[in-house]
Subunit: 229 residues, 2 copies
DNA sequence: TTTATTAATGTTGATTTTACACTTATAAAT
DNA sequence: ATTTATAAGTGTAAAATCAACATTAATAAA
């Protein structure tokens, strides 16, 4: 019978997370050195298996929390990878998720214990299985996301300069942006609060610090817009 | 141990297909009346279980072929649905795919045997499990796709009028479009061949028939563009 | 006091998008 | 043969958006 449950094959279902962070060096991803076979010692996305009583979103959250100590992180499901031998041990389908986190907030202790490490996108090592492809797809999705939703709240420190925001967008889009045009486009979204405070690290003159206006930011998250940068 | 394969739970993996068609009545989806429990007699997307030695894309193609007799149909993976009790019989994760097919080409015999039926999007019945949500998400994706890839080759008959193409886009986007602006935007894509032949069904004057220029169409499929309608 | 450095700021021309209405071809009706 | 009814086909102008671009301002360090 075409659709009988009993005769259907069961498979392992994994969740792999592409965790993006951002600092002065640019856009980064968190990778882990695998401490078990196969591919022990090689670099990998952080991941784990779905439990029987768990939904995929929760598995992704659990895995992220296990390795970084972070909670309440926005994650988005990306794609299900199902090549037959993608995992040589056993047939495993993996569903990828990506997360955006403030790189300053992670639990350094945990990351160290798990032999995890931040890598700049540009010089990340080769990854096991199909994880390179997962990362590429996550970057494409992130890039798309910038054009329809505000971004930055998740990746920047609470207070940031316009330059930091510009450099974040440049890192994600992987292209140079015109500073004046960028600022006016961002300002037209009306999601920023300009503080009276200045950051004096980067220049003699000092540059104003901003925060995101959380209410307006989240309102924009609900309704797509178009942002051509 | 956090990542041992042996202790991980295995699950059933299903594939459900949202099959879009288009005719003079508008945009439609193909649904099937389930002939097995649970929810026997209710309407459902067509679907099936992933086999152990099969990748998801192939499962989607197989399922589509089983119910429609069609081959070589473009399908795109959408999303993995994993609510614990989404299928009351057994824990099943379902990966959805959508397909665009020429409604004239399906195998009517097969569809009849499977108690499948085309429904206009607007008056489709309630579906089992989370299939309504799958359909909504598929429509959103299809809408997005129209803005970055040409569309129509898959959904229209070989020869079609400008009006048919316009109405296809209107059905997908669910909004009225300005005829003159639409035509000039489509023409700027340079994917159509205007024939000398006219369709005399729809008006006294008759309207020119077009075909897609397959080479240019497929070239455009490879490289995204932006089409604001 | 000078110098060096990054921050801040607006305008203009080019391009794209939107809104909008009349003429044409033909079949059907008389 | 003429009239009538119907959808097809076609272009322009105003508005909005985008892209390119250079000077002044504030401050710390020398």
């Amino acid at each position: 019978m075409l659709n009988s449950y009993s005769s259907a094959d069961k498979v392992l279902l994994a969740v792999d997370c592409i965790i993006f962070g951002f600092d002065h060096e640019g856009l980064k991803i968190l990778l882990i050195k695998r401490d078990f076979e196969p591919e022990k010692g090689k670099w990998s996305l952080i991941g784990g298996f779905l439990k029987r009583d768990e939904v995929l979103d929760d598995a992704a959250i659990r895995i992220l929390n296990t390795y970084t100590g972070l909670n309440d992180i926005y994650m988005e499901q990306l794609y299900a990878y199902s090549e037959i031998d993608r995992d040589p041990v056993e047939r495993t389908i993996s569903v990828s998720y990506y997360a955006l986190i403030n790189i300053e907030n992670h639990n350094a202790e945990l990351i160290k214990n798990y032999h995890a490490q931040w890598f700049s996108i540009a010089d990340a090592p080769n990854l096991i299985f199909d994880h390179n492809e997962m990362v590429e797809q996550a970057i494409r999705r992130l890039r798309y996301r910038t054009s329809i939703k505000p971004i930055g709240f998740e990746l920047l420190p609470e207070k940031f300069t316009m330059r930091q925001l510009l450099e974040l967008y440049e890192a994600i889009l992987s292209k140079e942006l015109d500073k004046r045009n960028f600022i006016s486009k961002i300002n037209s979204l009306e999601i920023l609060n300009k503080l009276d405070e200045k950051d004096m690290q980067s220049s003699r003159k000092g540059s104003y610090l901003y925060t995101f206006n959380k209410e307006k930011y989240e309102e924009k998250l609900l309704n797509d817009f178009v942002l051509n940068l």
